[in-house]
């Protein structure tokens, strides 16, 4: 993969955004801004390049090594660009009990890539991830920042077809429990109206 094509600092024309992020933390905690700054860069460039690492190190007043240390500690900062659609399949127990292993194999075959790879055209990355907190609506597939829940065979087919068209399909928002379905999602009635009626 190419390194960034430009030497212009990422925040050169985003000084307001930079100031806003720095202002979220007290003066004694300037380095706290590192993680949100990494997010900001990654969101725009789909990874954090060597060059950006140096830029961020300078902003928060530390070394590039320290920044890389932080980046590598967490699973969701990328040193290499991920695809336009970064498909993350939760693989932890509750999802596994709902078929996440088979789901992953299906996607892997469909896309012709294995865990951690990106398709040659740069459109898709596929990654097995650990629990994303959607156990009640397993199995779950996270595409970029969006959760697709209860991804059975049919929904998975639908999802991958839509992504191939370049579209993120609308989410089927589910919460499980006793809020399943729109019919049960209305507010509770007033206590006096409850019960027998």
């Amino acid at each position: 993969m190419n390194e960034t094509k430009t030497h212009t600092p990422f925040f050169a024309d985003k000084q307001e955004k930079l100031a806003e992020i720095l202002s979220r933390y007290p003066a004694e905690g300037r380095r706290s801004a590192l993680m949100p700054l990494l997010w900001e860069v990654q969101r725009a460039e789909r990874h954090v390049s060597e060059e950006r690492v140096h830029e961020l190190a300078e902003i928060v007043g530390t070394t590039a090594t320290e920044v890389k240390g932080v980046m590598s500690f967490y699973s969701t900062y990328h040193e290499q660009p991920v695809g336009t659609f970064h498909i993350q399949v939760c693989s932890t127990l509750s999802c596994a009990l709902a078929g996440s292993d088979e789901l992953f194999d299906f996607l892997s075959n469909e896309l012709g890539i294995v865990n951690g790879e990106t398709t040659a055209d740069g459109r898709f990355s596929l990654q097995k991830v650990e629990c994303v907190g959607s156990c009640g609506t397993a199995p779950v597939v996270q595409v970029n920042d969006t959760y697709y829940e209860r991804v059975g065979r049919g929904r998975c087919r639908h999802l991958i077809d839509a992504l191939r068209q370049g579209e993120m399909p609308p989410v089927w928002r589910e919460r499980g429990g006793d809020t399943v379905g729109a019919a049960k999602a209305e507010p509770l009635q007033k206590p006096t109206d409850r019960g027998e009626g």
Partner: protein
């Protein structure tokens, strides 16, 4: 007639939150369209508890009320919240921080996510109350990186609250000032450990810190800090609204109020259910969740870190409270129940969990880095791929018992507990696999239509 007698003896199960016997507080508006807005929240009684605290109670009175309620931390450890709040030294004019732990990463747990997404103002209000009680100068909300929608909703809610004078300088016209920054994590389970979380918030690698000093003495940036779980803070809202007596009227001797229990695995209705503490596993699994959809053999009682129980009446009928679970060799944890069906090879299920902890081990201490991060997953891999020998089970036990209690933070023990419980209850499956090179239960197609 005899049917009716039976019904009278045992009340009909609660099947919906529309049942009047079902006390829903924190989860009342989850799933309701538009509930995340300030207008909705205020028109449903929102911020009244904060107003009550700030305008008619002293900070000490708020702490006393929470103490009297018997609320215990909902993040897993179950430490009494009011007592924790009282550990903070009196304000000295220097910064002091309230941190809300929304790094919900425990497999089987997903209660906080829906509050962040669907009822963010409830958490803002909870943070205001906690901050006022401890006279905090600033708050941080640490949301796990994957909860993008939740973090976005929280940020929007905080902005709305700020614009309405509910955050910022002189909240509700009082002398009290407080504001909140949302900090997104980036995928690290260890950040749920409070000292690791603080390191992460400070822009460091999230290795846990040595305690003492405890956060109340030296936390964020070395300042006095208190870290509370999302639903500990949202519980405080309802304690102030309805009173400590109301809260402590529900539950068991050592566990009061309602709690958000979660259930996943093969049951009819998976999800989050708010129940009084001390409700039984059977009530959750059968009455609320509609019962298993496959023949079950075990359940994990409170998130992946809690040792499992076999599917037996004596365990199903246990009340889900802190003391009972501890007495029976497990933990209430986050209250995230995972049902394990008979056809899931228990060794395979544990391999899945061990792999999780191996992935999340931070590398700070040797027992966890080498034991949890390296030895355990490889030994499990050997077993599940059919290459294990009977003596490998003893080796596994030996490795597990050498890790237990010897690691720097609770992560390693969180992995070992389930491993040991599986060996205790389902040793036959390990032995079968080691002797035959294949699992007793070899179902490998779990994906539904």
């Amino acid at each position: 007639m005899s049917d009716q007698t039976a019904t009278a003896a045992k009340p009909a199960p609660i099947l919906s939150r529309h049942d009047p016997r079902y006390e829903v507080t924190m989860y009342r508006y989850v799933g309701v369209d538009g509930a995340h807005t300030l207008d909705f929240y205020r028109s449903h009684g929102g911020y009244e508890a904060a107003k009550k605290a700030l305008t008619s109670m002293t900070p000490a009175q708020v702490i006393d009320e929470v103490k009297a309620s018997g609320l215990r931390g909902r993040g897993g450890a179950g430490f009494p919240t009011g007592v924790k709040w009282s550990f903070m030294a009196p304000p000295d004019g220097k910064p002091r921080y309230l941190v809300c732990n929304a790094d919900e990463s425990e497999p089987g747990s997903f209660k906080d996510r829906y509050i962040l997404e669907d009822d963010p103002h409830q958490l803002v209000e909870g943070m205001i109350i906690g901050a006022y009680a401890m006279q905090m100068t600033y708050g941080f909300l640490y949301v796990r990186g994957e909860y993008y929608l939740g973090a976005t909703r929280m940020e929007a809610a905080i902005q709305e609250a700020r614009a309405a004078g509910l955050l910022g300088k002189n909240i509700l016209g009082t002398d009290f000032s407080f504001d909140i920054t949302v900090h997104r994590g980036a995928g690290a389970y260890i950040c749920g450990e409070e000292t690791a979380l603080m390191n992460s918030l400070e822009g460091l690698r999230a290795n846990p810190r040595l305690k003492p000093p405890f956060p109340a003495a030296a936390g964020m940036y070395g300042r006095p800090t208190t870290i509370n779980n999302v639903t500990s803070l949202t519980s405080a809202v309802h304690i102030l609204t309805k009173g400590a007596a109301w809260f402590s009227s529900m539950g068991t001797d050592d566990s009061k109020g309602t709690k958000l229990y979660q259930i996943s695995g093969p049951v009819k209705r998976t999800g989050v259910f708010e129940m009084p503490m001390g409700a039984t596993f059977r009530e959750l699994i059968y009455d609320f969740a509609g019962g298993p959809t496959m023949e079950p053999k075990a359940f994990i009682p409170g998130g992946s870190s809690t040792p499992m129980f076999p599917w037996e009446d004596r365990f199903l009928d246990m009340p889900m409270d802190y003391g009972t679970l501890a007495k029976n060799g497990s933990m209430l944890g986050t209250g995230g129940v995972i049902v394990i069906p008979r056809d899931k090879c228990i060794v395979d299920a544990l391999y899945n969990l061990v792999r999780f902890y191996a992935h999340e081990s931070c590398g700070k201490c040797t027992p966890c880095r080498e034991g949890v991060g390296h030895w355990l997953p490889r030994m499990y891999q050997k077993l599940v791929s059919g290459l294990g020998r009977p003596e490998d089970i003893e080796l596994l036990e030996s490795v597990a018992s050498n890790i237990k209690g010897n690691a720097f933070c609770p992560l390693a023990d969180a992995c070992i507990g389930p491993v040991q419980a599986s060996l205790k209850w389902f040793r036959d499956e390990y032995e079968y696999l080691a002797a035959n090179g294949k699992s007793k239960y070899a179902k490998n197609d779990w994906w539904q239509a």
